[in-house]
Assembly symmetry: C2
Homo-oligomer: 198 residues x 2
Amino acid sequence: MSSPEIDALSQALSRLPGLGPRSARRAVLHLLKRREIALKPLIAALQAVEENLATCDICGNVDTANPCGVCTDPRRDAKLLCVVEEVADLWAMDRARLFPGRFHVLGGRLSALEGVGPGDLSIAPLMARVNAGGIEEVVLAMNATMEGATTMHYLAERLADCGVSVTQLAHGVPVGGELDYLDEGTIAQALRARRPVA
Amino acid sequence: MSSPEIDALSQALSRLPGLGPRSARRAVLHLLKRREIALKPLIAALQAVEENLATCDICGNVDTANPCGVCTDPRRDAKLLCVVEEVADLWAMDRARLFPGRFHVLGGRLSALEGVGPGDLSIAPLMARVNAGGIEEVVLAMNATMEGATTMHYLAERLADCGVSVTQLAHGVPVGGELDYLDEGTIAQALRARRPVA
Ligand SMILES: [Zn+2]
Ligand SMILES: [Zn+2]
């Protein structure tokens, strides 16, 4: 493992979440020993994504198409909109495959500490989507953190006069829990028991 | 995660050792959100390795140079040769940074069950290296498995009349243990207490 190229690859892989320095070295060796069936396909897969990477102009999802596959999926109910903090949360909700509507990614959460105000999040585009009509229910699926709750109540107030039903995920999401770390069963239960924002 | 490109990348990553389907999805998202500082550098690192990948003609190591960086390192003692089963074992030995000599990769171990005989391993090249002179000690660093022990005794017999000292790793490697999974301390201890093959 003395070559600079191999060291650089090992370091690049060790920066991925879930891979420490040791597992990165094992991954490198795995790739080196499988040039045709692992290394080249991985390069091709990364390039295909890199060349087509786009942020969806409608919902903020990251995809290889714009508008994204979620927004253009005709089987999804356009009357239902789920608002999440981050793209990772959209993917976590979508893994459960139990939300039949569309999504809106805020790109963060309100935070006095970090100086994040409404203008820093994708809230104006959210209001525009809702005001354009056709949406009947907005599910506010913020993380169950203090800042998530603040964001949820702010959005509920903004949406109060839009003529849409505004709901939140049921208790079931553990306090302090982040959606992206939950199993599908917990997310499914929280979705089924969703209720109007108080 | 509906686009075929993103699914393909997620699958390619999930085949790496240490990354399951969930951590692969997290890794994909990590890359998608960091196109310039993570995705492009990873592609470049993989390509640099892929373009220069080579198996060392001397020792069997996988590197981006041939002969490899270990074989051409002038600080290593050419009188000491460590024989290992796989490239992963060479790297594991080298991580401990306590073996000051060179290596020879057999490419496997003798196995009646799997039909692997001496002709299937890099044994003739090993004998040629030893017979070329200059080597004083050969450390047989096979895994502490039945097949590793069989391979070690076979090699010890072949090397008996070559005028070199033939040693093995000390007990310290757990029975059934594979070098690549051991911590550096265990490997270092086993190396320090190495003894002649009985
Ligand atoms: Zn979209
Ligand atoms: Zn070499």
